[in-house]
Symmetry: D3
Subunit: 238 residues, 6 copies
């Protein structure tokens, strides 16, 4: 039994609130327990230079935390004048994950910017961001279809993500901050609704992990992500 | 009659939601109509170098907008690697406004960081930030008193702010974005609960303004800020 | 009686020396007592991207202090790699002030850059900059007319600026550095020659100020700026 | 059969040349085929601020490519004034990988900086860097022991890394650049000599991958890394 | 005969105006023809980290041009966020030149900052800066002696600088901007009053230069710098 | 007799290894004793903005040191976010030196980027860079000719460089690091194969130097550079 009463294979309560922002083409507030992330999808009618004239689109992501999203205040990256390594790593992960389920030819020469801004951070901000950004992206693309900007949906399948960690030898799904701080291993899985992986990232914080441990974490992740797909689907049909 | 049905001297609906963030010593979500700002107050047990060893405290502010707070997406200042002139101007204004109502000796050698993050921008983000930051600051200082960190309240009086503009020759209180874009003059007033001013800033966007116009805007502002003091007080007694 | 022998409503000796620089289209050395600012106006035959193709011009300003303009040396902003908040605030103020008196359609698709470089700072550098920059701008535009680049003068009226502060309850015009350091309130007024305001900025350094104090400062400012218009006019007719 | 004649499970020719640099405490030139990386280990007698006074050490890594390490020249990150996202990601990976095999208490309050500079890049630069950096680190720590700076070796076990990708459905070990450009999936494995993982990172470039594909890539990687441990051991005993 | 009527071996009119700035410990306006540079010497009672506790002082220089010092306006380095290569090169040259004539032990643990700000540039800004900075430095050190901060003068001898170029095969002293733009070779000489060199820098703009040309330029420079020493001495005895 | 057994007028062993990099159009590893620099020449089919449409080419250089090229590790300039003054100075010197021997009209509208990356630094890195970059550039241009991209060779003559210093009054050729640290004077000479100079830079580290000393250093340099031309020629004919 975990500190918040969950079993090893339980997600935290997950909610996805659509249309959180009046202006963005797609927007959600996604909550994984106390972790809260605003995800907006902004459509721009142009593509980066390396894609111009090729007839295909682009999906890119930026990630940031408000200074007091965390237990103690962190300086803003804008004040420091540069984006840190962890932020770079996460926003590249979010972008790759979402691109994996989009048909760029059907999207056409336009860019969707996904902005994931963490307003409260209690662990799992990158997995919540991917899971929420998918819904914001789906809403934005649905809007393009309704306004006849694109003929058919560029979405190939859904994508969602979850973390799994090992504490005292036990694999636990969807770590919160206090669990994450004590985990021996931390793996993030990004999976599509056809049951295939787009990203798998495992890191030993102290002790390296065995093949058996990796497989047990993977089983937990698959079960958890399947529940996330249901939550996304429910949110999108409201 | 204005586009949203208000009279010239009406504020938009203003709400202040306290304890919006689990971790900050003080935090609110302040809304002026569709403008929404998260204000957090973070207490740090040290002061900037120029104040060390003087026994007095410091209050400082940072201001930022999420990229899609606005009608079209703006690039992040962290990605551009520098904080723009408008942001600098606003965060300096917020900091000065809040410092004016704090007794720095009673605060002692500690800093309160006020972070004002605009999650949706429909005009008046700087005045909403000041009005909301006061409540977050009051909560943080109340907490210090309750935990016996400080002996008595450093708050001398309340502070709030509002904008007034002139459109077609008529002074209007608390401009929203579409009004602000069409205003001939834009003034921001920051006033304390004793009816005195800490900041007055007026800018002619096209035509310069006369003394009479300035006085009429001032009258509107005084009436509007008095209502904001009531809203702050109500929020703080909940 | 003030430390330098002035009465409360006196300006410091103000001089405006035209053609201070061989190369600029307009240039002055403006002195408000010991405060000395070089203002140059440089004409560029293009406009910023947001104005291209609209047939209208632009006026923009930059402000800087030499490292030893002040009592103690300050690091250069170029060495620190970024422009500080105070500098941003001042150069935005100068730009807005000068744009308010220019007919951008008559200027045509060109930009005038006003560079205000403080070589000695004894208070009032921003008001001296605005007052001097107007003369440099007038000279540059006069040159464009003489060379038949523009058909008629884009200048609608003159603009000048002055500061007023309250020390020991007494409003004093045109504060020098030692007065400014002791002022309870500091207001800057930017006014046009038709007696209307383009910018009013008042800041309480310690104690907030009342309506009556604001009105008394305003009266002082109006009288002071009228004298500055005479000094500008005299300089321009030499 | 692959373009360079290798079978699916073959490494490229791997060589590790020790003492490549006269000054560094440890240094190697590591070559994975045409990929060449200089790895130096520099010992500094201090630790970062967050570790001071705790009696434990630190290992950190930086990674960079010479501008013409690649087929076409890339601008230097020093000229661009910031380190890109890919570089951040890789240097964080190298640092974590090496820290996982070091006993920081035995290292004591000192930092080892691992600099991995790619002088020629033909795919697999991050895995070559980890594999080579281990040898440079081992040399530096051996030196500390010989000079009696530390009492016993902080090395817990060896660490090495390799990439595996899937091309046309076939899992291939140790991709070169042209293979990497065509891979559907790319996984990097970092493993210790006890057969446990410290990092596993898999990315679908186009199509997501199945559990079965992941397992087949893992098998290839384990076999490949075992051969790398032999090459490291041989190099260290010369 | 040159465009401005000078003979090949003539300096432009050179003037050095002391006490140009009220606040700096030493300050001059130095003019080489139309080239005008403000040089200030600021004394700071500390040294850079690499010299702390060694009992010796430091002299360092910064160089900058106002944006409209030149025929066409150049962007400010503070706006660009970095100091350019040419600026770096020149300020390093000025610093080295002045340090060469100072006894750092007699200066004691303090730093003199020399700021050379070009307000009008017509060629020779670096040589004018060195020549003027020497006088500002001498004044600042004289002040330290008079206030008994240092016991004896740290100045070993005077230093001055001049440029020489070759145009149409003829070596010309002290090039102005239009000559400099047409010169085949440009050499800068920094010499002390004992007739020895501290810096010699020669650059072929198009055609390389021969030993004979180098020697003829050197002769011109020696004669020119000797006249500059007289001008410095006259300025310092006023 | 010097510490490494050389006579005053001896170069260190100099080797130039061509085709050091598989991808660059020209590349060498140049060694002056323990100083080792990788020089690559990269051809780009465009020119900087200020040359577009003029039909002439450009040659530019960048210089960098690996962090542990030196006795103690130096922070990377990419991590510091800016290129230092010394680096700027050296890369400008390399660029000017190489441009002096190239006919830009024969090169046509293309740029050659010379990257000089020091992998081990024992003094003389800038002179080794110039000497090696010439060979890399010659190889790249030879390639352009062979592929019929250009009709005839843009190379006017060869260029090479060497340092000379004075230690204990004796002029020594090609200083290594320990000699350079003790030198009273340090001069760098860049000379073409027709015996003419493109750059001469002399700096007194402590004591200024006389005309006689300058002439003796020049004689040493001329003899040394002549031997470097032979080494370049031999390398290019292999």
């Amino acid at each position: 039994m975990r500190a918040d009463g969950r079993n090893a294979g339980d997600l935290r309560p997950v909610t996805i609130t659509r249309n959180f922002n009046r202006y963005a083409e797609g927007s959600v507030l996604v909550e994984f327990g106390h972790t809260k992330v605003i995800c907006t999808a902004s459509v721009e009618e142009s593509v980066p230079p390396f894609l111009r004239g090729k007839g295909t689109g682009w999906v890119t992501a930026e990630y940031s935390m408000l200074p007091r999203a965390t237990h103690t205040r962190s300086p803003r990256e804008s004040s420091k004048g540069k984006v840190g390594g962890r932020t770079h790593e996460i926003q590249r992960l979010i972008g790759r994950s979402l691109r994996s389920v989009i048909n760029m030819t059907l999207l056409g020469e336009r860019t969707v910017h996904l902005d994931c801004d963490v307003i409260q951070a209690d662990g799992g901000t990158r997995t919540a961001s991917i899971t929420g950004a998918y819904v914001a992206l789906a809403d934005a693309l649905q809007g393009l279809q309704e306004r006849k900007v694109i003929a058919s949906s560029p979405i190939k399948e859904a994508v969602a993500a979850v973390s799994v960690g090992i504490i005292n030898g036990v694999p636990l799904l969807d770590l919160d901050y206090s669990e994450d701080s004590n985990a021996e291993v931390d793996m993030n899985f990004v999976m599509t609704s056809s049951g295939r992986f787009v990203e798998v990232q495992g890191t030993a914080e102290n002790e390296p992990f065995t093949i058996e441990e990796m497989d047990r974490m993977r089983d937990h992740a698959i079960a958890g992500i399947k529940r996330l797909f249901e939550i996304q689907k429910t949110a999108l049909t409201k």
